[in-house]
C-alpha cells in the first residue's frame, strides 16, 4: 500500500470546469463614476436579454426565478435595499470564500442582468424571518461544530461556514440540514476505500482521477491512494453529514440555527501593519 500524507489537493471543481472557462484574467474595473441609473432600466427588450443572460450564467446557483437555490436569494437582497452599484460590484469581483466567481462579462451585460433582476424584484422575498440566533449558536456548538469550522474554530470534515450567511439562501440551508445528501459539494462527496489488508477508511473525497484518489478521513487526516493499491473504492450517495430531521432538530430549533448561520458573513483576516521595533 502506498499512501501520501499532507499532500496539496487541487480542487476537483476546478478540474471539472476548467475546460469551459475563459482564461483567468484580471476582471475589468467597476465603472467610475457609476451611472446614477441603469441604462437599461425599464427597457422591455433589454430586460428580456437580461433574463437570458441571467438564466444561462446565474440561474444554476441562484435559481431560475432568482429566489435562490444553493446561492443566495437575490430577490431578498433586492428587497433588502441592495443598490445597483453593490450588485454590480459583487458580480464583477465575486465573493471570496464562496462559490461566487468574479465575472468578465462586459459592463453592458451586467447592466442587462441587473435590469432583469430589478424588474422581477418587486415580488416578496422568499427568505423567512430568522430565529433566535443566540440559541442557534448554542445548538450549532453542540451539534455541528465538530465537523464545521467558523472563524477558525471547529472541525474541518465539512465545509467551512464562516461566510455561509452570504453564500446560501434560507431555503438552501433548510434543505441542506434536513436532507444533506440532496446536493453534495464536489469536495465533500462520501467515499470509502478498502485497503489490501481489508481496512475500510471513510471520508470526504477531495479529488480523484483514473488512477488515484484523495480524501479527508473522519479523523481529518488527508489521505491519498493509488487505486491499484486498493481492493475497492465505494462511492456513497449519502452525505457524511447525518440528516437532521424534525425528530432530531425540531422546526423551532432549525429556525434558530438558520438564524445563527445567517449572521455568519465572514471575518476580517487581514492583519494590520505592525509598527517596526525600535
Amino acid at each position: 500500500m502506498k499512501s501520501w500524507r499532507s499532500i496539496l489537493v487541487p480542487g476537483l471543481f476546478c478540474v471539472f470546469t476548467s475546460g469551459l472557462l475563459v482564461a483567468q484574467q484580471a476582471p475589468p474595473a467597476i465603472p467610475d463614476p457609476f451611472p446614477a441609473m441603469n441604462p437599461h432600466a425599464g427597457d422591455r427588450e433589454a430586460i428580456r436579454n437580461g433574463m437570458s443572460l441571467y438564466r444561462s450564467r446565474c440561474g444554476d446557483c441562484h435559481g431560475l426565478d432568482a429566489n435562490g437555490y444553493r446561492g443566495p436569494d437575490l430577490m431578498a437582497l433586492i428587497a433588502g435595499g441592495a443598490t445597483d452599484e453593490r450588485l454590480f460590484q459583487t458580480v464583477r469581483k465575486g465573493v471570496p470564500g464562496t462559490e461566487m466567481p468574479a465575472s468578465n462579462m462586459p459592463d453592458d451585460q451586467i447592466f442587462l442582468v441587473l435590469a432583469y433582476l430589478r424588474n422581477i424584484g418587486t415580488v416578496a422575498a422568499s427568505d423567512a424571518p430568522a430565529g433566535n440566533a443566540a440559541h442557534g449558536a448554542q445548538l450549532f456548538a453542540a451539534q455541528c461544530s465538530s465537523c464545521h469550522r467558523v472563524a477558525g474554530k471547529g472541525g474541518r470534515l465539512g465545509p467551512d461556514l464562516t461566510r455561509v450567511g452570504s453564500a446560501r439562501s434560507h431555503a438552501a440551508l433548510v434543505r441542506e440540514i434536513r436532507n444533506p445528501g440532496e446536493v453534495i459539494a464536489p469536495n465533500y462527496e462520501t467515499v470509502t476505500v478498502v485497503t489490501r489488508d481489508g481496512q475500510r477508511i471513510r471520508g470526504a473525497k477531495k479529488n480523484e482521477d483514473t488512477f488515484s484518489i484523495q480524501f479527508m478521513d473522519q479523523r481529518e487526516r488527508i489521505q491519498g491512494y493509488l487505486k491499484a493499491d486498493l481492493q475497492d473504492v465505494i462511492y456513497e450517495p449519502a452525505s457524511l453529514m447525518p440528516a437532521f430531521g424534525p425528530e432530531r432538530l425540531p422546526d423551532a430549533d432549525l429556525n434558530d440555527v438558520i438564524g445563527y448561520l445567517g449572521t455568519l458573513r465572514g471575518v476580517d483576516v487581514n492583519i494590520p501593519v505592525q509598527p517596526a521595533q525600535e
Binding site: V15, F16, S18, G19, L20, L21, V22, A23, Q24, Q25, E45, R48, N49, M51, S52, L53, R55, S56, G59, D60, L64, P106, Q109, E182, V183, E208, D209, T210, F211, S212
Partner: protein, 538 residues
C-alpha cells in the same frame, strides 16, 4: 546534443538560419497529401488528409510503452489551454495557443525559436474562450485563424506577418478558431460565432495574396435549394449559425473537402426558424476548386440542443458486405456514430455510441426517428446527451489494420430550457440554457467501434468526462487522456491500459502527435498551457 547547444547559444534569428540548413523548409501540397509517410513530419491538423490520426511508427510498442518518460516540457507562460495540433517540419514544431499566440519550438529541446502574438480587441464577443486549433503549412508559410476573425499568414522561419485578411466582423460576434486546411493552391477555413447569430461559411483563400477564391454558406440563402428549409420571410437565415470550428478532411481522388457544420441559431428556441435549417448540423462535401457542394447529409435536422456537427470527418476505404466502399466516418455530438458513403452521401451505418434519448434510430432515408418529449421549453426537458454531446471537438482516430474507430465518448444528460430572446448584434443569442440534472452522474470513456457494424469492440471508462483526442499507431497502441490530466496508452486490440502519466492539466481537442527525430519516436502531448514530449527511456 549538438543542436541543443547551438540553439541555447544563438539568438532566435540565427536559429532560423541553422534550421533552414536542416531541410528545405518548404512544403508542397503533394507532401501534405503523402501524409505521415515521412516519419519526421506532421504537416496538417489530422496528420494526413484522411484525418485518421493513425501513425505508421512502431518504435513504441505495447511491450515497451511502460518505459515512456518525459524528455522536455515547453511552457507558454500564458493563460489558457492548448487545443491545437502542433505541426512538425524538419525538426521544428509550430503550434498555436490561447489568446492569438503562436510559437515555433525546437523539437529536440523544447526551446522557443520565435513567438507570434496578435492583440485581442477589448470589445471582442466570444462564447467559449480564445482558443485555437493550429496552423496549416504550405510553401514556407504558416496560416492561422484568429479569435477576432482574421486569417494571418506568417513566415515559417521568423514568425513575421506576411498578410492579414479580415474574414468577418468580430464586433457582431464572428470569431475563428479552426486550423486551416491547405489543399492544392488554397487555404480553406471556416468561421465561428453562432452563439451570436452569425451566418456561417467555409472560405478558400489564395496562400500568396490572401484573396478569397470561393465561399460556401453553411446557412442556405435565397437562390440556394437549401433555402426551402428556412423561413422564406424575415432574417432567420442571416442569423442561422452553422459555425465551422474543427478542421475538415480532403479526398484527392474526388477533389472533395468534407466539413462538419455547426448548429443552427438560436441554439434552443427554434420556433422562429421552422424547417430543417440546411446546411447546419450537417456534413458537406465541397469541390475543392469551386466550393460547390456535391452532396450534404444532415445529421440533426432542425437541431434544438446545440449539437454542432463540428467533429472530425475520418476518411477510409472499407469492405462492406463484400463490396469496397469509400466512406467517411463521423462520431457526432448528437450521440450517433455514422459510416457514410463519401461518393454519394448515403448513410451506411448509424448507431448510438452513447446513451441517446432524442431519437429511436436513424431511419432508412437517413433521417433520425425522433422520440417525444425532447423539445426544450421554459420548464425544461431532460435529454441525453447534454449540450457538450456524445463527443465534441476532440479528434478521433482510425486503425485501418484492425478496422477500428477510436472515439472519446461522453455519457451525459441535461435539462434543456428555451425561451424567445430578441436578437441584438453582438449579444449572445442562445435563447435558452441548460442545467445538469441534480441526480446526473456524468462520466467519460475511450470507445473502440467497428465502423462496419457500429458495434462497440471495447471501452475504458474514466471517472469524469474527457475532452482529449485520440492517436493510434501501427504498433498496436492507442493514446488518449482522461478528464483529469492523465495521458494513457492502451493495447488497441483489447483496450488494456498499459501506461499512464499525470501531466497536471486536462488535455483537450488533440491527444497529441508522434514523430521520429534522431532515430527516436516521440509522443508530443499538449496539456494545459504546456507541451510535454515523451520518448522511451534510453
Amino acid at each position: 546534443m549538438r543542436a541543443i547547444i547551438g540553439y541555447v547559444a544563438l539568438a532566435a534569428a540565427a536559429c532560423a538560419v541553422s534550421l533552414a540548413a536542416q531541410g528545405t523548409g518548404s512544403i508542397t501540397s503533394q507532401e501534405i497529401a503523402e501524409g505521415l509517410r515521412d516519419p519526421g513530419r506532421w504537416l496538417t491538423y489530422g496528420g494526413d488528409y484522411s484525418s485518421q490520426r493513425h501513425s505508421p511508427l512502431t518504435q513504441i510498442t505495447p511491450a515497451n510503452v511502460n518505459r515512456l518518460v518525459p524528455q522536455w516540457t515547453f511552457q507558454t507562460g500564458t493563460t489558457g489551454a492548448f487545443q491545437a495540433t502542433p505541426l512538425l517540419v524538419d525538426g521544428v514544431l509550430y503550434v498555436t495557443g490561447f489568446n492569438n499566440n503562436a510559437w515555433a519550438i525546437d523539437a529536440r529541446s523544447g526551446r522557443q525559436i520565435w513567438r507570434y502574438r496578435r492583440d485581442i480587441p477589448s470589445d471582442l464577443h466570444n462564447c467559449c474562450g480564445a482558443v485555437n486549433r493550429g496552423f496549416a503549412v504550405l510553401g514556407d508559410r504558416l496560416f492561422m485563424t484568429t479569435i477576432d476573425a482574421h486569417l494571418v499568414a506568417l513566415d515559417m522561419k521568423t514568425g513575421s506577418l506576411l498578410y492579414d485578411v479580415e474574414l468577418a466582423d468580430y464586433k457582431v460576434g464572428y470569431s475563428a478558431t479552426v486550423a486551416p486546411l491547405a489543399v492544392k493552391d488554397k487555404i480553406i477555413i471556416g468561421i465561428a460565432g453562432a452563439e451570436f447569430g452569425i451566418r456561417g461559411f467555409i472560405d478558400a483563400y489564395d496562400p500568396m495574396t490572401g484573396k478569397r477564391d470561393w465561399r460556401f454558406w453553411t446557412v442556405a440563402g435565397p437562390g440556394d435549394p437549401g433555402f426551402a428549409t428556412w423561413p422564406q420571410t424575415g432574417d432567420a437565415y442571416k442569423r442561422g449559425g452553422g459555425s465551422i470550428w474543427v478542421t475538415g478532411s480532403y479526398d484527392p481522388e474526388q477533389n472533395l473537402v468534407f466539413f462538419g457544420t455547426g448548429n443552427p441559431g438560436p441554439d434552443y428556441y427554434s420556433q422562429n426558424r421552422e424547417g430543417d435549417n440546411l446546411y447546419t448540423a450537417s456534413l458537406v462535401a465541397l469541390d475543392a476548386d469551386t466550393g460547390k457542394a456535391k452532396w450534404h447529409y444532415q445529421f440533426t435536422p432542425h437541431d434544438m440542443h446545440d449539437w454542432d456537427s463540428t467533429q472530425v470527418p475520418v476518411l477510409a476505404d472499407l469492405t462492406i458486405n463484400g463490396q469496397p466502399r469509400k466512406v467517411v466516418m463521423f462520431a457526432n455530438r448528437n450521440g450517433f456514430f455514422y459510416t457514410i458513403d463519401r461518393v454519394t452521401g448515403k448513410v451506411i451505418v448509424a448507431k448510438p455510441f452513447v446513451e441517446t434519448t432524442w431519437a429511436k434510430e436513424v431511419g432508412p432515408t437517413g433521417r433520425p426517428v425522433l422520440l417525444p418529449g425532447n423539445i426544450p421549453d421554459e420548464n425544461g426537458t431532460k435529454t441525453c446527451p447534454d449540450l457538450g454531446g456524445g463527443t465534441n471537438y476532440m479528434s478521433p482516430s482510425f486503425d485501418p489494420s484492425t478496422r477500428t474507430f477510436f472515439v472519446t465518448a461522453r455519457e451525459t444528460c441535461a435539462t434543456y430550457y428555451s425561451w424567445e430572446q430578441p436578437f441584438q448584434p453582438g449579444v449572445q443569442w442562445e435563447s435558452g440554457a441548460t442545467q445538469r440534472p441534480r441526480d446526473q452522474k456524468n462520466f467519460g470513456a475511450l470507445r473502440a467501434i467497428d465502423p462496419v457494424t457500429g458495434a462497440r469492440k471495447w471501452e475504458f471508462r474514466y471517472p469524469t468526462v474527457s475532452s482529449s483526442g485520440v492517436l493510434s499507431t501501427a504498433s498496436g497502441l492507442v493514446f488518449n487522456a482522461d478528464g483529469d490530466g492523465n495521458i494513457l496508452a492502451f493495447d488497441s486490440r483489447t483496450g488494456k491500459n498499459l501506461w499512464h502519466y499525470q501531466t497536471g492539466s486536462g488535455i483537450r481537442s488533440t491527444e497529441g502527435t508522434t514523430y521520429m527525430l534522431d532515430g527516436r519516436q516521440y509522443l508530443l502531448v499538449p496539456s494545459g498551457s504546456t507541451l510535454v514530449a515523451f520518448a522511451l527511456m534510453q
